[in-house]
Symmetry: C2
Subunit: 197 residues, 2 copies
DNA sequence: GCACTGTGGATAGTGTCGCTCCCCATGCGG
DNA sequence: CCGCATGGGGAGCGACACTATCCACAGTGC
């Protein structure tokens, strides 16, 4: 399809698609000469992913990192999560990993890589919440962690097993784009739980 | 304390504090004449909250709505969650509430207000994820919802019961600032669960 | 009394970001 | 051969969160 059709199909203006091409968020179409290129369904999927990421608050620079990671699929299932971890935008600015966090993981019995970016994000997010007057005691953190295990169990059970490239896509897109779903569910659950209590 | 001391204590430049004062994010200090005002510990807490919100990606306009809500505390415990819901920044742009969402809540047995902003956010967040190729089947959504109940149970058990104003502060600050904590925990839990499976 | 520093108040400027507009040369379709 | 969409690229725009500068003046130290 031509760029105008890609624009129509995705709802993204042509000028913005050109911008994404320049920024490397969208791979070039197959060139059919100097003034014509062909875009595939893959391009359409990519555009939709980029829009969803950007609308979810991911910066263009981070979205480029994410899409670059998707273009270089993992060799094995073992690579999958590690590669996804490093490709994902951090949920909070990184800080040094606190002793509290390492102790929490030990208590939970969680086995994670010692350099996982999420460890730094978690330390920073906890510190930020505390600095704003949210005490976040240990038992609250462990409660959140247990609930996160249930979330993660749903996550991994929905990862396709046949194709590593689509598995990586699912993990990365799912992690980023389901976060707001969980946030909305949490607010609704608060309302439900508090009206019941 | 004077504005320079407030700046030093919070780590926020004086020029930025003046900006927050202009924008209504920070109430004026008690005036001690034309060129002097006194700022209290409440102001310091407010500055730290505003910084945490802004650092978490909340816009200044939304942060003003949040802080205005905090300045007008609820009359009763019954008001608390409702007021917090409307004061909180939405986790995703609002869309019309989908039939799927109303059906999901019915299946879950959740009782929530029919105009809760989180319903609109949830519908929009689900649609955004789907458009990016995350299928999000019903059983996944119910799984996420059950886990969100556990999160919400921790949330409400940590709300102070003595003072309605501080309860509202805790709910609002906790909801926004714990979201990134949960996101980081989710990533770590994914790594743990997938390495175990 | 007097210089000096810090303050409240206000306006204008800065840097970043995500587009968006415009221009050009080209080459396919009619 | 003409019109027009395309690929390519530079420059501009609007929003946003500050940040810099200026001003008049009130305390403070001397």
């Amino acid at each position: 399809m031509r760029i105008s059709e890609l624009s129509e199909a995705s709802g993204v203006p042509v000028a913005t698609l050109k911008y994404y091409l320049r920024e490397g968020l969208l791979p070039p179409g197959e060139s059919l000469g100097a003034t014509r290129a062909d875009y595939s369904e893959d391009h359409l999927r990519r555009v939709r992913l980029v829009r969803a990421l950007v609308d979810a608050g991911v910066s263009v620079a981070e979205a480029r990192r994410v899409t670059e990671a998707l273009d270089d699929p993992p060799r094995s299932r073992h690579d999958l999560l590690g590669r996804a971890q490093y490709a994902l935008p951090a949920p909070h600015a990184a800080t040094p990993v606190s002793d509290e966090v390492t102790g929490l993981l030990a208590d939970l019995g969680w086995v994670v890589g010692p350099d996982s970016p999420a460890l730094h994000s978690l330390s920073g997010a906890i510190a930020a919440a505390r600095s704003a007057g949210v005490p976040l005691p240990t038992d609250a953190l462990t409660g959140y962690a247990r609930a996160s295990e249930a979330v993660a169990a749903v996550d991994v059970s929905n990862v396709p097993t046949d194709d590593l490239a689509s598995a990586l896509h699912r993990v990365v897109a799912g992690t980023v784009l389901v976060d707001p779903v969980l946030a909305a569910l949490r607010r609704l659950a608060q309302e439900h739980v508090s009206s019941r209590g």
